[in-house]
Structures are given as structure tokens and as C-alpha cells.
């Protein structure tokens, strides 16, 4: 059985109480994303700045145990950027400390009268005055608070109202997408710290050891993880050359898909320049993050891609500097880079390195041109009279995989519940990284069901709060064994998959209640009319609109949605969600 103690914090009254979800709720939700959705659903129609809309921090059932890479946490609320539901899986040590402090999650409501910190240490919870810290960068705050355990905080951008503000964990792990940092700042919550000294028991320690061994063996056999050019040796930057080689590197605000100077701005170039060492999340032996010898964190793949190719920037220092600014100010690097690219296309200005970093500071502090840019590319492009130049889905800017190079990715962007996000269906796994096997990336054949299955599976992974990267090597089969060993429940991979379907479908229900429909499950028009950059024996044609719509229709059928992308009554009943509809 999974026992989770959830701490409810009302910032308005400074009220605290502990609640334990029933075993039935835990079985239906698993933890993490699933449990956060459970708490969000009744309030989802509240606006993002409504103090009664909960901001949720949920660990998973494996967090704090010896199950590999399960120390992540899910943060969830409604997105100020898209208006849709939004959850982020974030690494670091927050979840691990939370479980060791005897808690499974935190539900934050209310609004403090002034910037505030919440400090949790095992059984005790206290509030602290953070009035003088609103303008503090996340890196400095982490440095000053880290003796109090794990730190989740927002930077100045959130307090200035940037719609793509992030919540930073332990200084460098970003809950980046969708502007959850702005939700946190709107409650006058500057930071949370948590420290725990307990342990998280497993019902069957031998079973957990065996499952962990299976997971490690499969991870070792996966070139994308432990290979010479895998995430352990090269970090997520390893994907940079791959996207370039496959002619799907978003370039010049997605006008092209190949950036010639990319060959000199890759993982190798960063390593030569800054001689990094590897770091990473608690409980993970891959350690895919990088810190240069001067102590500065190096950008991850998405950031490298958007602050080089997307902006046509060839200055390596500017890429690293942009990453540092975004992390310290607390802004999502993907949305920040893509919004600047949108600005560059609309204004026709080629952004120099100093303009890039200057505009980022203007956005973070909401001054000059940065005021409008801080609202995200969709609002900016609308205001400028060029809505088609915002390369976003549901208002969330697209990351570093051009959809013309992978049809599953094109469909996955459109159907994602949080908008332009690659991580819900993660088709890159089979379309590019060939895991579990390769699929034809230029074909929609079979992709509707593949996307749906992957969305369900990733909903499980984010509910277990495991790391998606591990699934380049292993499958739910091994994590189901770990889950069973920890909880004492006898649960198969397919049982979890079914639970994942329910979790993801509930997100569709929440979005539909907010007015999202097929009109929003779409890609920017550019992808249907303009080709990518051919070369290296690869033709990158526009996405065929008819085929895309047919695949989306098949996805709706498989997912249990009607032609408008709205949940079907019979599916709601089949999944036992009628009470929530």
C-alpha cells in the first residue's frame, strides 16, 4: 500500500494541515503527476492568479527509495502562458528530501501578504519573511539556503510578471515550462526548503534490489544513456549533433532546419571550452548535467539549440550566458529563446550576443521591449499583427525538434495537454533515438496509437516521478517491479499503463472544461506550407496537412475523444471518471 502524507499550506492564514489520501485514491493516481491532477481538478476553472487555485508539489511512491532515478518531483497548476493545465517533472533533491521528511506532497493555496518562504524540516513547518528577497536570483538564493536542504524558488522574473517564469530547484533544475513560477510568485511565495532525515521503507527490499539491478543492466546496455556519446558522457547536449545530422534543428525561428555553424557549437565545443564535470539528480547514476571548471552550469540541449540555431547566433559564450541569465532570473529557456526568435523575425533584427543577453534582462525585469516579450511569443506576435510568427502550440513555444522531421513529434506537439511540449509523447525516442525500435519518422502510419500509448506511459513515469531518460533503456516492466516491491501491491506494467491512461484522460477533461478543443490541437501554419532544409540525402518536406488531420482524427478515436477533440461520455464512464465530469 502507498501511504502519502500531504501537507496543505494556506498562505493567507498560515494554516497547516496534514491529510492522507485513501488507498483507493493512491491506486488511481500513483503519486506525482497523477496525484497533483487529483488535487487540481476540482479547482481547475479558477484563474491562474486565484489564490484558491492550488500549486502542487508531489513526489512519487518510489522517491526516496533505492529505485534508480526516481527522486524527481511533479509541480502542477494552471499555466499563465497557455491557460491550460500545466505540470513539470523536475529533478534535483526536493522530492527525495520531502519523502525523508515524512511527506508525499505539498498543496499550496492562499496568498501571503508579503514575499514569504516556507521551511520544512522533518516534522516542523515554519514561515519566514522573504520581503527582501523578491529580487534575489535563484542561484544566490540556493547558495544561501542550501544548508536547509533542498530549495525550490522563483527568481525576479516571476515577481515582475513574466509568463514563462520557472521554478528552480536546487539552483539549476528547472520546472521551466508554462510559467508555474508566476503562479508561485502570485502567492507571494519566494521559496520552499525541505530537509528530511527519515527513510522511506520498501515492502519487499529484495524485490526492489532485483528490480533496481534489472534497471541498471538495461540502462548500461542503452547507447543513448551509457554509450560513449550517451547522456552520461555528453549530457543532454549529445542530442545537438543528432538534430543537426537529421536536418531537424529549428533554425531562424523555424524557417530552416539546419544550421551550418552547429558543428562548432556542440557538446564537444562546450567540453573543450569549459572542461565540465558531471552532476545530476539525487539517486541517479547517469548524472546528465554539466558544470564547467569555473563552477558555471552548462546549458542543456534545448537551451543550446534555441540560443544558437533558432537565433542564428554563433557565439558560444552568449549561449552559456543566456542560460545563466534565464536560470538565475527564473525563466524558461525554451520559451525565452523562441520568443526572442519570434521578435527577431518580426522586427527583422539579427540579434547580436549583447542584444540577446540585454533583451533577456529586459524581459526578466519587465522593462522596455521586454515588457511585451515577457508575455510570451503568442501575445507578442498577436500584438505585433503577426500571429503566425509565434512558433507555439496552445501558446507554449516549441522546443528543439522541428516537427517537419518527425511526424510522431508533429502529432505529439498538437495533442500534448500542456501545449508545445515534446515530453508528453516523446516520439524522439523511436523516431530518432531508435528506442525501443526505430519507426519511420517521415510517416504518420501507426503514430496515433503510438502517441497515445506513449502519453499514457509518460503519465505513469511522471506519476512515479521517475526520469524519462531511463526509458531509452528500460520499460515499465522493470519499474512496475520496483513499484510492486516498494508498495507491496502486485502491479504489472499493463496495470500501470491503464492507470496512466486515466491520469492523462483526466487532463484532457480538465482542458476541455477550460475551452480547449481540436482548434487548439494544431501546429503553426508554417509547418504545413514551408519545407525544412534539405541536405545530407534528407528531404524535409512540409507536413502534409491532410495526413496530419487524418492522424489527429485517428488519435481522437484511440484516445476516446469526439471529432472536436472533446472527451466522449462513454470513455469517461469506462475510466471511472464520471464523478469528475
Amino acid at each position: 500500500m502507498i501511504r502519502f502524507r500531504i501537507l496543505h499550506v494556506d498562505l493567507s492564514s498560515r494554516g497547516l494541515h496534514i491529510e492522507e489520501p485513501t488507498p483507493e485514491i493512491m491506486a488511481e493516481c500513483i503519486g506525482g503527476k497523477g496525484l497533483a491532477g487529483h488535487y487540481l481538478h476540482p479547482h481547475v476553472r479558477r484563474e491562474w492568479d486565484d489564490p484558491e487555485l492550488p500549486l502542487l508539489f508531489m513526489a512519487g511512491p518510489l522517491t526516496g527509495t533505492s529505485a534508480p532515478a526516481s527522486g524527481r518531483i511533479c509541480i502542477m497548476s494552471r499555466s499563465p502562458l497557455t491557460g491550460a493545465i500545466c505540470d513539470c517533472s523536475v529533478g534535483g533533491s526536493f522530492g527525495w528530501q520531502l519523502r525523508r521528511a515524512g511527506l508525499g506532497g505539498i498543496v499550496v493555496t492562499g496568498r501571503a501578504s508579503a514575499p514569504t518562504g516556507i521551511e520544512i524540516s522533518d516534522g516542523s513547518v515554519s514561515f519566514s519573511d522573504a520581503s527582501g528577497l523578491a529580487e534575489a536570483g535563484t542561484d544566490l538564493l540556493h547558495r544561501d539556503l542550501r544548508d536547509r536542504g533542498a530549495v525550490a524558488c522563483v527568481g525576479p522574473a516571476a515577481f515582475h510578471g513574466v509568463r514563462f517564469s520557472s521554478i528552480m530547484v536546487d539552483g539549476v533544475y528547472a520546472a521551466g515550462r508554462g510559467g508555474l513560477g508566476l503562479v508561485m510568485a502570485s502567492r507571494n511565495l519566494k521559496y520552499l526548503t525541505v530537509k528530511g532525515t527519515g527513510s522511506v521503507p520498501a515492502a519487499d527490499p529484495d524485490g526492489l534490489r532485483e528490480a533496481a539491478e534489472d534497471i541498471r543492466r538495461l540502462v548500461a546496455a542503452a547507447p543513448a544513456l551509457m554509450g560513449e556519446y550517451g547522456l552520461r558522457n555528453c549530457g543532454t547536449a549529445a542530442c545537438y549533433d543528432l538534430m543537426s545530422w537529421n536536418r531537424m534543428m529549428p533554425t531562424a525561428n523555424f524557417r530552416r532546419t539546419f544550421f551550418l555553424p552547429a558543428a562548432g557549437m556542440n557538446s564537444h565545443a562546450f567540453s573543450e571550452r569549459w572542461k565540465p564535470r558531471r552532476v545530476g539528480c539525487k539517486g541517479c547514476h547517469i548524472q546528465c548535467k554539466r558544470v564547467g571548471e569555473d563552477g558555471v552550469h552548462l546549458p542543456e540541449f534545448e537551451t543550446m539549440s534555441h540560443f544558437s540555431a533558432l537565433l542564428m547566433n554563433t557565439d558560444l559564450d552568449a549561449v552559456r550566458e543566456a542560460n545563466t541569465i534565464c536560470n538565475s532570473m527564473g525563466m524558461d529557456t525554451i520559451s525565452a529563446g523562441a520568443t526572442l526568435a519570434c521578435y527577431s523575425e518580426i522586427t527583422g533584427e539579427k540579434l547580436t550576443p549583447s542584444r540577446i543577453t540585454g533583451l533577456l534582462m529586459d524581459i526578466a525585469l519587465q522593462r522596455g521591449e521586454g515588457t511585451l516579450l515577457g508575455q510570451g511569443s503568442r501575445i507578442y506576435a498577436d500584438e505585433m499583427g503577426h500571429p503566425d510568427r509565434s512558433m507555439s502550440v496552445k501558446g507554449m513555444e516549441l522546443p528543439g525538434y522541428d516537427p517537419r522531421g518527425a511526424m510522431g513529434m508533429a502529432l505529439g506537439y498538437a495533442t500534448s495537454t500542456r501545449g508545445g511540449c515534446h515530453l508528453r509523447a516523446y516520439p524522439i525516442s523511436h523516431e530518432i533515438l531508435r528506442k525501443p525500435v526505430a519507426t519511420d519518422r517521415f510517416s504518420f502510419e501507426g503514430k496515433a496509437r503510438i502517441v497515445k500509448i506513449a502519453e499514457d506511459m509518460n503519465a505513469v513515469i511522471d506519476s512515479l516521478t521517475a526520469c524519462k531518460f531511463f526509458f531509452f533503456g528500460c520499460s515499465l516492466e522493470e519499474y512496475a517491479a520496483a513499484f510492486s516491491a516498494v508498495t507491496g501491491l502486485d502491479v504489472s506494467a499493463q496495470d500501470l499503463q491503464r492507470t496512466g491512461e486515466r491520469i492523462y484522460f483526466r487532463e484532457k477533461m480538465m482542458n476541455s472544461s477550460l475551452g480547449f478543443s481540436a482548434l487548439d490541437d494544431d501546429l503553426p501554419s508554417r509547418f504545413f506550407s514551408e519545407p525544412g532544409t534539405h541536405g545530407g540525402g534528407i528531404e524535409v518536406a512540409p507536413v502534409d496537412r491532410e495526413e496530419f488531420l487524418a492522424a489527429r482524427q485517428r488519435y481522437y478515436t484511440v484516445r476516446g475523444l469526439d471529432d472536436s477533440g472533446l472527451p466522449l461520455g462513454e470513455k469517461i464512464i469506462e475510466l471511472g471518471l464520471e464523478e469528475l465530469s
Binding site: 534489472d214 541498471r216 543492466r217 538495461l218 540502462v219 548500461a220 546496455a221 542503452a222 547507447p223 543513448a224 551509457m226 554509450g227 560513449e228 556519446y229 550517451g230 555528453c234 547536449a237 549529445a238 542530442c239 545537438y240 549533433d241 543528432l242 545530422w245 558543428a263 556542440n266 557538446s267 564537444h268 523511436h430 530518432i432 533515438l433 531508435r434 528506442k435 525501443p436 525500435v437 526505430a438 519507426t439 502510419e445 501507426g446 503514430k447 496515433a448 496509437r449 503510438i450 500509448i453 506513449a454 499514457d456 506511459m457 516492466e477 512496475a480 504489472s492 506494467a493 499493463q494 496495470d495 499503463q497 491503464r498 496512466g500 491512461e501 482524427q553 485517428r554 488519435y555 484511440v558
Partner: protein, 386 residues
């Protein structure tokens, strides 16, 4: 989906894993499609409906696999536990159910990638492609083949084969295809153009499959040209390497090799230690079987695949421990050193690596020769007993 279903149905037949007309493949997108009609489709439809998968495969295995699998499933066996390293890593064990009914199939398929139904066939599935179902099917056949011969070798050591074992062995040997006697030369180096390098790698892969030197079409091939190593991609099929060869600069200046074979590190290290230009690796069945046959009374028994401390060899070829990939017990830690002293090395329970200079001719011929020797040795050891 129909194209993929037909492709893998045909591939099962050409690989000698199923007989023509036997493979039944279903693929599900919005609609469920089958490659042909069959009485089993209602049961399999129920299975696919009860799982988050997109493809299913059911077929009788061809001979000699059918005889072998029936033999291993006799009695009350509820699961077969293969000993070879590859299957242990990816499939764990092979459940057996006694009837082709949705309930028992679902119970096992929810936790494993295959189910054997004695007298009927093997059921496997995929989440993104029928190719996964094909691979699992092939792996079950391979694992059972290896286990069958390994068990017999063990039985022989324990005092001799039973009459049942002898009868089954005789039957299996009747079905074994002839060993290829003469193979034409491969493309020869030195190569002047990059496209010839790609073609040479693809040709070596294809001939390895055509000559029956692989399990599931898997293995890997690499060839060094100028400052780049051209290596087959992970999960690529050795008989279809065109478009699946990745050029990895040897100075490490690019990470495109992230999709290279999981043995890239072992290939690179082998080449740098030996001065060779080419490495070929596959899973020839008898080399794998013989690598696992060990009479030593050893404290590491059960862990031979990761820490065999004896200096062993088969047919003059060293045998070393090592798991797939680059973990602490990975073969990347054991293979390259062994390749310094020998142009061929067998990794315990996994497969055979060979190397050569200039092109892949030497590596390919060595592979073919060693597997032939291992096959002769294995059969003669078992027949001695008759």
C-alpha cells in the same frame, strides 16, 4: 500498418523462424488490421484490447525450434529460464501457458514480452512497431535453441544423454540447415570513396544474416575510414543497414554516435589497441552455446557472464565475460584487451567478435569459420555419446 505486418510476416519466414502461411500479425492504430484471417484473431483481439500495445504476433515456430520448444515445455513447466546473457537482459524469462485463451495470455503478457503456448506457438507484442514483436519472437527461438544444446551438454557431463534427449537431438539435427561451405569475397579495401565504405558495411551485415550467423538479425559492424568509424546503428537489422550506418569522428568532435550500436566503445577501443580497421560482431548460435559450456567447479558459477575468472577458450578462441553495453560489468571492459591477442573473441553467452585490417573480409571469414568449428565441436561432443 499493413505494409509493416506483411514485411515482418515475410521476414519470419526468410529467417527460418516460421513456415509460410503461419505468422499472424495484428497492428492497431485507430483500427485493428491483420495480415491474414485466422481462427485465433478473436482471442488475440481480446489480448490487444487488454493491453497498451499496438501490435501482436502469433505463430508456430519453424523447425527445429518447434521440436526444441515442445521439448523444453514438456511436463508442468510454467516458464523457461534461458541462460544466455542477451535474453536474460532483455526478456528475463519465457512464460509458458497451456491454452490459447485471452485470460492466461493476458496474465503473462502483462508482465513479459512473450508467451509460449505448447502445441500452438509463440505470442509476442510491440508498443510502437510489429518489429518489436518480430524481435521478441526471434529471441525466444534463439534462447530456446541455446538452452536446449546447453542443457544437453550439461546432461552429457552429468553422465550421458537420456534416450529422450538422444531422440530429440536426432530430430533437431535433421532439421539443422547445411553449414555454408563457400561464400564469395566481400568488397575489398582500400576504399576511395565514402559511399563504398557504407556499401561495404551494409554488405557485411547482409551476408552475416544470409549465412545464418545471427539471432534476430542483430549484431554490429564497423569499418574505419580516414578519421571516422562507420558503424551500424542501435537496433538496426544487419540485413537492412542501408541508411542505418552512423559516421562517428574518431576525435570525438561529434555526438551523432549516440544512435550507434551499444558496442561502439568496444569497437573503437579494439581498433585503437590493435591497429585493425574493421570489427564484426554477431550472435552465432553454436559459438554462444560453446562459450557457456564449462566443466570447472567454480565459485563464480551463475555469474559467468560478468565475472568468469578462468582463462577459457573454445576452438582456440578466447572466451571473456561481459554484459551488453558500457556498464561496470560491460564487455567494453573485457573485450578490447582480449582482442589484442586474438583476432576473434567470444563474449560468454552473448556472441562472437572478429577483427580485420583494410576491409571486412578477414573478420567475416573468421566469424564463419569459428561458428562452423563450434557447431562441429558441439555436435560431435553430443554424438560421442550415441
Amino acid at each position: 500498418m499493413r505494409g509493416l505486418l506483411d514485411k515482418y510476416a515475410a521476414k519470419l519466414v526468410t529467417a527460418g523462424l516460421a513456415e509460410p502461411g503461419d505468422p499472424l500479425l495484428g497492428g492497431l492504430d485507430a483500427e485493428l488490421e491483420w495480415n491474414r484471417e485466422d481462427d485465433a484473431t478473436p482471442v488475440l483481439e481480446e489480448v490487444i484490447g487488454g493491453m497498451g500495445i499496438n501490435s501482436i504476433l502469433f505463430s508456430r515456430p519453424a523447425e527445429p525450434y518447434r521440436t526444441i520448444i515442445e521439448h523444453l515445455c514438456r511436463g508442468e513447466v510454467s516458464s523457461i529460464r534461458p541462460r544466455d546473457a542477451e535474453t536474460r537482459t532483455f526478456l528475463h524469462d519465457l512464460p509458458v501457458v497451456r491454452e490459447l485463451a485471452a485470460g492466461p495470455l493476458l496474465e503473462k503478457l502483462r508482465i513479459r514480452k512473450s508467451v509460449i503456448v505448447p502445441g500452438r506457438g509463440i505470442v509476442t507484442w510491440g508498443t510502437v512497431s510489429p518489429e518489436q514483436a518480430f524481435i521478441f519472437f526471434s529471441s525466444v527461438c534463439f534462447a530456446c535453441f541455446v538452452k536446449f544444446f546447453s542443457d544437453l551438454l550439461e546432461e552429457r557431463r552429468q553422465g550421458g544423454l537420456s534416450s529422450l534427449s538422444r531422440t530429440v537431438l536426432a530430430r533437431v539435427l535433421e532439421y539443422l540447415p547445411e553449414y555454408p561451405a563457400d561464400v564469395p569475397p566481400l568488397m575489398s579495401g582500400p576504399f576511395g570513396k565514402e559511399e563504398d565504405v557504407y556499401a561495404a558495411v551494409a554488405q557485411a551485415g547482409r551476408l552475416t544474416v544470409e549465412n545464418g550467423l545471427v539471432d534476430s538479425f542483430f549484431g554490429n559492424v564497423s569499418l574505419k575510414w580516414r578519421n571516422t568509424l562507420y558503424i551500424s546503428q542501435t537496433t538496426s537489422s544487419l540485413d537492412e543497414l542501408e541508411g542505418c550506418i552512423v559516421p562517428c569522428p574518431l576525435d570525438g568532435s561529434s555526438c551523432v554516435g549516440i544512435t550507434a550500436s551499444s558496442e561502439l566503445g568496444a569497437h573503437k577501443e579494439t581498433l585503437s589497441r590493435t591497429g585493425a580497421d574493421a570489427v564484426l560482431h554477431s550472435h552465432p548460435r553454436f559459438s554462444v552455446i560453446m562459450s557457456m559450456d564449462c566443466a570447472e567447479d567454480c565459485p563464480d558459477r551463475g555469474y559467468c557472464h560478468i565475472r568468469c575468472s578462468w582463462k577459457r577458450g573454445v576452438c582456440g578462441v578466447p572466451v571473456v565475460p561481459g554484459e551488453v553495453g558500457a556498464g561496470p560489468t560491460g564487455l567494453c571492459n573485457t573485450l578490447p584487451a582480449a582482442m589484442e591477442d586474438s583476432n576473434a573473441v567470444i563474449v560468454w553467452g552473448h556472441g562472437l567478435f572478429t577483427r580485420s585490417i583494410g576491409d571486412l573480409n578477414g573478420a567475416f571469414r573468421r566469424l564463419l569459420h569459428i561458428e562452423g568449428e563450434c557447431r562441429d565441436l558441439c555436435i560431435s561432443m553430443l554424438m560421442e555419446d550415441h
